[in-house]
Amino acid sequence: MASRLLGAVVPWRSSATAPNQGTAESWSPAGAGSPEPYQAGEIVAEVSDLGRAFGSRWVLESLDLRIAAGELVALIGRSGSGKSTLLRALAGLDRDLTGEVSVHGTVAVAFQEPRLVPWMRVLDNVGLGLRGPNPTEMARGALAEVGLQERQAAWPLTLSGGEAQRASLARALVRDPSLLLLDEPFGALDALTRITMHRLVLSLWERHRPAILLVTHDVDEALALADRVLVLGDGHIAHQSRVDLPRPREREHPELVSLRNRLLTELGVDMKGPTA
């Protein structure tokens, strides 16, 4: 059965993670390239021998994964490969698991659909369930960080797709998570908005340094953002690549081009055909 160890084990903002000014290499703690380059003390999420069956079909099977504090991990996979199942397991939303999932510290989720409560104004959405001395002020600050302070009194259904996603990000960030789970949050956005959102996520990540697991089906998105790209296949992490390039990254950087081809091959895309 899954065990969840919530409660602060790692003070995630402590010196355990060196603040990083934009280059991926500068903070990767240990020998990059080895599959588990992190020391135990820095792990915020650990999944071992995870399994999840729907009926007789095992979507996840003997899956192992560790996420280090402050690490930005992208998880890609074909549709139906179990990406969201893994994310839900980490979020504590799935009770029918085998194996072990442990997360140290708080977890926050931004869902694919922003999932704002439609009858609560944006500010109240961000502050929903927030504990602390002054939740409203905290929520206001988070909205300002995502550039949405002037929409704080708006009803969620009047927001544009990008605005709603930013509000959802603010709601996740204001909880000061040690692990932030992003479930294809930019999938429904247009290309321009998506680029803006990528920049926003990176700047927020650089400022707050949560570990992030970004679930996406977009290889380019994964390559633009992540320290490490995981490919989910056959129910477990079938492949992983580190991306040690400074951000913002040039899409046509030779290293990224070859990585992209590699990942697409891992995903089973025929590289001789039209590229994704």
Partner: protein, 292 residues
């Protein structure tokens, strides 16, 4: 009986939490303008009817004692307000007695209905315990129960209150229960991620989520409850609009009956309007939400 307003938001039409595709493409203004313009034209046919009624009655086509003219009804109402007759008392006194009866019965029914809906909506056990009974009671003919209520509770105030309460409770229960059950499961999942306490979940997510349907139920139950009041007041009353009607029947004073009927109608319209105001305030978060 008032039925579901076709413009009332059908639940499920708004995927709560999701975005409402196309809604913002429907600007508020044209509908508002249309409703304003149509408000006028819709008044024509009722006014024509009133004029015909007046002419028919005054012209002697139908005797004034059978069908008093609108002007006669109004002047009778004024008389009833101004004079405290031994047969009827005053209109305002009768109105107050009826309102009290209605309010007590409705409040009783509404509290029980919402309470049961929460119990049935929130737990499987509660659903099994409550819902089959309510579904059974729903099929009973409300006014067929009048004789039974007289046998059980006599002819005092109690059977009247219970009849109104029962009439109010059924639609309110059914709609509130359905509303609670239709709350978007994704929002329930969200509240788990956000670590909401049970009380917060109920207050911030479940009850507001059930509100649109509960308000539809409220409007229906008000309609049924007014009807129940009218029927209950025929029984045996010594105060109220029904008492007035009973007295007038004995004295063959049709104009008094018409006054009482007009007051019933106005009260019904008034509560309907109140619910609309409530809806407009409570459901302001829906883009394009307009109840006329």
């Amino acid at each position: 009986m008032s039925t579901t307003n076709p413009r009332s938001p059908a639940v499920g039409a708004v995927p709560a939490g999701g975005r409402l595709a196309g809604v913002r493409e429907q600007p508020l203004d044209p509908r508002r303008r249309r409703s304003g313009a149509r408000g006028w034209t819709r008044l024509i046919s009722p006014l024509v009817l009133l004029v015909i009624w007046q002419l028919v009655s005054v012209g002697g086509l139908i005797s004034k004692s059978k069908l008093p003219p609108p002007t006669g009804v109004i002047s009778e109402a004024v008389t009833l307000i101004r004079t405290n007759s031994p047969a009827y008392g005053t209109l305002q006194h009768a109105l107050l007695a009826s309102l009290e009866r209605f309010a007590a019965g409705f409040a009783l029914g509404a509290i029980v209905a919402v309470g049961l809906a929460i119990v049935a909506g929130l737990s499987r056990l509660g659903e099994d315990a409550v819902d089959p009974l309510m579904q059974m009671i729903r099929t009973l003919p409300l006014f067929g129960l009048v004789p039974v209520f007289i046998v059980w509770f006599g002819i005092g105030q109690l059977p009247k209150l219970l009849l109104i309460a029962l009439g109010a409770a059924i639609p309110l229960y059914l709609n509130t229960y359905a509303g609670i059950r239709s709350v978007d499961p994704r929002l329930l999942e969200l509240s788990r991620v956000l670590g909401l306490k049970r009380r917060e979940l109920l207050r911030r997510i479940i009850l507001p989520g059930a509100l649109p349907e509960a308000l539809v139920g409220l409007r229906q139950s008000l309609g049924v409850a007014w009807l129940a009041l009218v029927v209950a007041e025929q029984l045996n009353t010594n105060a109220g609009l029904g008492f007035m009607i009973n007295q007038a029947t004995q004295f063959l004073q049709n104009d008094v009956i018409f006054v009482a009927l007009a007051v019933y109608t106005i009260l019904g319209l008034l509560t309907d309007w109140l619910v609309r105001v409530l809806e407009r305030r409570a459901l302001a978060w829906r883009p394009g939400f307009l109840v006329r």
